[in-house]
């Protein structure tokens, strides 16, 4: 027992020593899906590769794929911290409490949690304003649908996804008052079988536009085999399914942020922050709008994109009512990011006109 602990501490001391000698910064990434998902995790891993490309030998990265959002995530993070990680990115909403817990045990390790809202001294939060991209998708969807039925595959009923549904809906309705949203919750971020089934059912029920907030390309394949259905790439460009069904996409661009945060750790200037950037800052990209979209719709969608980018327009601008008819934003009022349940960060309600209920 004694010998074991001596050995263990010796080993720890040695790793610490080599760590400081070589002056490499260790950066860990916890992924919710496989790096080959072609969507969310794929883009985070591209961010990791950007870090490697930017710092070369000065940085050492490690990652674990397909980590379930539960107690197991805590084990993976602890393991990374024990292996000497200086900075750990936990890249899914469901790692929120686990990140806070593990961060409390390792005060010298910096943590960065994606898409959550709990911050501490060594936990930064970062997210992208995907809803800006959803607004553009909703705009195109409203114009393009002939059946006036838009299908939406949700992952989990969390603020990020609900925000996306609301943003897409109000911008679809703005150009097409008859539009109706049908929503299926898949209760997974990545399960091609479930996602494909959900897409097929939505199409069978008349949807000719399918939006997805899950990470695989399976809904794209389902839309392709169904024929006259359009889709949008989620998290990644999914250009392989263009020019149709995929007519545009939301592309997450994490590279610059990951490089900046790693640099901050190297310089010793890292501080706990809250970052929430959108199209303007380049964290959200709108993939090429393909030839399947008429030129005038493409032009108006790009105008919407540009107005969101330069800040002249906010995706949630009043007058907007909640689903029950009560006023959420007065005319001209802009939604606040952080205002408890009324703010965007914790949005848990649908807006007026969506004929469905948020599961609890």
């Amino acid at each position: 027992m004694k010998l074991k602990s001596i050995l263990a501490s010796a080993a720890l001391a040695m790793t610490a020593a080599t760590g400081t000698l070589a002056e490499t910064t260790k950066v860990g990434f916890v992924y919710v899906g496989p790096v080959g998902d072609g969507g969310w995790t794929y883009e985070h891993d591209k961010g990791r590769e950007a870090v490697v490309a930017a710092f070369g030998d000065k940085v050492e990265t490690m990652y674990v794929e397909s980590v379930p959002e539960g107690p197991d995530a805590e084990r993976v993070m602890t393991d990374m911290a024990l292996k000497g990680a200086d900075l750990i990115f936990t890249t899914s909403f469901g790692y929120m409490d686990q990140t806070i817990n593990v961060a409390a045990k390792f005060p010298n390790v910096k943590f960065e949690h994606a898409t959550g809202y709990k911050q501490s001294d060594n936990v930064s939060i970062y997210s992208a304003r995907f809803y800006e991209g959803r607004a553009v998708q909703g705009h195109i969807a409203g114009h393009m649908t002939k059946s006036n039925i838009v299908g939406y595959i949700g992952s989990f009923p969390i603020p990020e996804v609900i925000r996306g549904i609301n943003a897409a809906y109000i911008h679809a309705k703005a150009v097409n008052p008859d539009v109706q949203f049908k929503i299926i919750w898949a209760y997974t971020w990545f399960d091609p079988t479930k996602e494909a089934d959900a897409a097929k059912v939505l199409i069978e029920q008349g949807a000719d536009v399918v939006l997805q907030h899950t990470d695989s390309t399976a809904p794209q394949a389902a839309a392709q085999s169904a024929g006259n259905v359009i889709t949008f790439g989620q998290a990644s460009d999914m250009a392989a399914y263009g020019p149709k069904p995929r007519v545009s996409s939301i592309i997450d661009n994490w590279g610059p942020y990951y490089i900046a945060r790693t640099q901050a750790v190297m310089d010793g200037t890292w501080a706990s922050t809250s970052t929430w950037d959108g199209i303007g800052a380049g964290m959200v990209g709108i993939g090429e709008i393909t030839s399947a979209v008429p030129a005038d719709v493409k032009a108006s969608a790009e105008a919407l994109r540009d107005s969101l980018a330069d800040g002249s327009y906010h995706a949630f601008t009043g007058p907007l009512n909640k689903q029950d008819g009560s006023v959420w934003l007065k005319a001209g009022e802009i939604a606040a990011d952080y205002a408890g349940p009324e703010g965007l960060a914790e949005m848990g309600f649908y807006l007026e006109g969506i004929d469905s209920e948020v599961p609890n």
Binding site: P34, G36, D37, G38, Y42, G151, K182, I183, I184, W185, Y187, F190, D191, P192, T193, A196, D197, A198, K200, V201, L202, E204, Q205, G206, S216, T217, A218, A221, Q224, S225, A240, Y241, D355, S356, E357, P359
Partner: protein, 310 residues
């Protein structure tokens, strides 16, 4: 809530597609169990078939080659089980479980570079005029190859078991291997062939998932379909027609719950998501309450080790 949005025709058509992977695996396992062997490795053989079929289809660009390789892949994995249980007389339950774990791990390892790739599209039957007949057209004449292959296999197995000499021998081996042996039948050979047939069917079922229903490859994508296939064989009390019924029932519930959700039915979706599994459990419980009857239907030598010296 808008139930009129659910079209019964499309519901039936899509439940047939959703049920096909389980149906293929279950009809194969039925033959295996009829020969007196319990192979719990269906899940492992399915995922192996899903992967080998997907890889072959991507490499050659031909879905048919994919289906063929899926059947070969599933059968190849089942040969391991056959050798261990028939020559080395290992415990069938333990070997089957090991086969599932092995298949899941092997396919996950080999399949890493295939995640996110688009497979070639498998053609659907599209007969002019006939496929456009309302109701019947979408249900009967507009599916892909696997749906028809599964139905043909079910009919074939039913005919083989009921009306052919080979079927009689297979059943004899499954009911009493000692008696069949005494009559001069090659018990081990019959069983190995049955196991390989079961493996091939399970592999084809896996490919129906990775090449048609999804179509994509991810590790563990069978997600318990093999276990459901095993349950369906018991549910069907080892009768091919009832396997068809069981598989369609399961596929129907799985598709219906998504349809209800999209139609805005305000039942908590958690209940809808668990309903296919819940129904499987309930059916199995109901089946096994009548012990005398279910025991009558089970092949008498199911799971028992055969050695010619005894």
């Amino acid at each position: 809530m808008d139930l009129s949005a659910i079209s019964p025709t499309l519901l039936v058509a899509s439940l047939m597609v959703a049920a096909t992977p389980i149906l293929l695996a279950a009809i194969g396992e039925l033959v295996v169990e009829k020969s007196g062997v319990l192979n719990l490795g269906v899940e492992g053989m399915m995922i192996t078939g899903a992967f080998s079929g997907f890889a072959a289809a991507v490499l050659t660009g031909s879905p048919m080659v994919g289906f063929l390789c899926a059947a070969i892949g599933g059968a190849a994995l089942s040969v391991i089980f056959a050798i261990l249980t028939q020559y080395f007389l290992s415990n069938q339950v333990a070997t089957g479980l090991a086969l599932t774990l092995f298949g899941l791990g092997l396919s996950a390892m080999l399949g890493q570079s295939y995640v996110g790739i688009k497979p070639p599209v498998s053609a659907k039957l599209d007969l002019p005029l006939i496929s456009d007949i309302p109701v019947i057209g979408p249900i009967l004449f507009s599916h892909d190859f696997t749906v028809y292959a599964a139905l043909t296999l079910v009919t074939g197995v039913w005919f083989f078991l009921k009306y052919t000499r080979g079927g009689l021998i297979l059943r004899a081996v499954g009911e009493s291997h000692d008696a069949a042996h005494a009559l001069g039948y090659k018990v081990v050979r019959v069983r190995i062939l049955a196991i390989m047939f079961g493996g091939g069917c399970a592999g084809l079922g896996g490919a129906a998932l990775s090449l048609v229903r999804v179509p994509q490859w991810t590790e563990g994508m069978t997600a318990g379909a093999g276990w459901i296939a095993l349950a369906i064989v018991v549910f069907a009390s080892w009768k091919p027609a009832r396997v068809l019924l069981g598989a369609y029932l399961f596929g129907g519930v799985a598709v219906l719950q998504l349809n209800l959700q999209a139609a805005g039915v305000s039942i908590p979706v958690e209940y809808l998501s668990m309903s296919p599994y819940l129904i499987t459990i309930i059916v199995l419980v109901v089946m096994s309450t009548n012990r005398a009857k279910s025991a009558l239907n089970a092949p008498a030598a199911l799971g028992r080790v055969f050695h010619a010296s005894r």
